[in-house]
């Protein structure tokens, strides 16, 4: 497992504990993030097949990180279309 994949695994584990995700949601989130990348994942939360309550928790998480990440923050004001 390369360093990037190890970091993905670590991050999903932290997200699982932070957001109290169940095993099935953890598996899905892990797969989505590894397939699309972390930035694309947070920019398109509503596109992924996740329960609404999980999407809301992820939106809360996005709200925290977007103040630290201009790429996501700028796009937050242009959610209709635009970058993925």
């Amino acid at each position: 497992m390369n360093q990037k994949n190890m970091e993905y695994k670590k991050m999903v584990d932290v997200m699982t504990r932070l957001l109290d995700l169940d095993a099935e949601t953890e598996r899905k989130v892990s797969s989505y993030i590894q397939n699309t990348g972390i930035k694309t994942f947070f920019l398109n939360l509503k596109s992924f097949n996740l329960p609404v309550e999980v999407q809301m928790k992820l939106q809360d998480l996005k709200a925290v990180i977007e103040v630290l990440d201009k790429d996501i923050a700028v796009l937050d004001f242009n959610t209709e279309g635009g970058d993925v």
Binding site: Q3, K4, E7, Y8, K10, M11, V14, M15, R17, L18, L19, S31, Y32, N35, T36, G37, I38, K39, T40, N44, K46, S47, F48, N49, L50, K57, Q59, D60, L61, K62, A63, V64, I65, E66, V67, L68, D69, A73, D76, F77, E80, G81, G82, D83, V84
Partner: protein, 246 residues
């Protein structure tokens, strides 16, 4: 509201929902202090053990997120097979159940993603695609090839005649510019269909380029082409098939 205030308000809301801290207390603190202090020095506000643990996890997440962004910039997602492209678009569009969305991954010479953009979003069974917009984005990022993806909210995995027509229309525009269309992935819930695997990706122009908007419709499925044996299994396409220019 300014962007900064908007983000600060969102940050405080997100922080309190994730950690269980009182919004009132956090807002009060943020009136005369930097709200990020709460993450760095949680003891600046009154909190219990569980809230402290959640803040610790949030800090771990932020570190991990920042590290992964660096890794992803250095090691971009590379589409070296139709199955990898299928997994990518399936992840990205699998949850879109109430409308059609048309997305394009713009790729460099090595089939690494330069960027992925939502090009249009429509109703449950239909969306319109604007070739001029695609052209504008393709030129702006200097891509060498593209992969299209869109979802069928009705969950039909079959290609529609519009899916094929739109691909041909876009080949008519991009083939003369030497920008290749490698695949068009149709996502239906948890499954996907790759037009490249089905050999429906046109290799040449069949008409003069037209820039009129194109409507794609989930209806009017086409009959399956008899598949070649090598496509019977979900085999990875090798570099030669997508003609990597490394």
């Amino acid at each position: 509201m300014s962007k900064e205030l908007h983000h600060t308000a969102n940050f405080l809301n997100g922080l309190t929902k994730l950690t269980g801290l009182s919004l009132r207390k956090v807002q009060e603190y943020a009136k005369s202090n930097n709200p990020f202090n709460i993450l760095e020095h949680p003891q600046v506000i009154e909190l219990n053990e569980k809230q402290l643990e959640k803040i610790g996890l949030l800090n771990e997440f932020i570190s991990s997120y920042n590290l992964l962004k660096v890794h992803e910039n250095e090691d971009k997602i590379k589409f070296d097979s139709s199955s990898k492209a299928g997994q990518y678009f399936k992840s990205l569009l699998g949850g879109m159940k109430d409308r059609e969305r048309f997305v394009i991954a713009f790729l460099d010479r090595g089939n690494n993603i330069i960027e992925t953009k939502i090009m249009s979003e429509g109703t449950i069974g239909q969306t319109a695609v604007f070739p001029r917009e695609i052209l504008k984005n393709a030129i702006a990022c200097d891509c060498k090839s593209m992969i299209f993806g869109h979802n069928h909210p009705g969950l039909s995995p079959n290609l529609s005649s519009e899916d094929i027509k739109i691909t041909q229309r876009l080949v008519n525009i991009f083939h003369p510019l030497e920008i290749r269309i490698l695949d068009h992935i149709i996502v239906a819930g948890t499954s996907y269909t790759s037009m490249a695997e089905k050999e429906y990706i046109p290799k040449n122009c069949d008409a003069i380029a037209s820039y009129e908007p194109i409507v794609i419709d989930e209806k009017s499925a086409v009959e399956e082409k008899p598949e070649k044996s090598e496509y019977d299994q979900q085999l990875e396409m090798d570099d030669e098939e997508w003609d990597l220019e490394l």
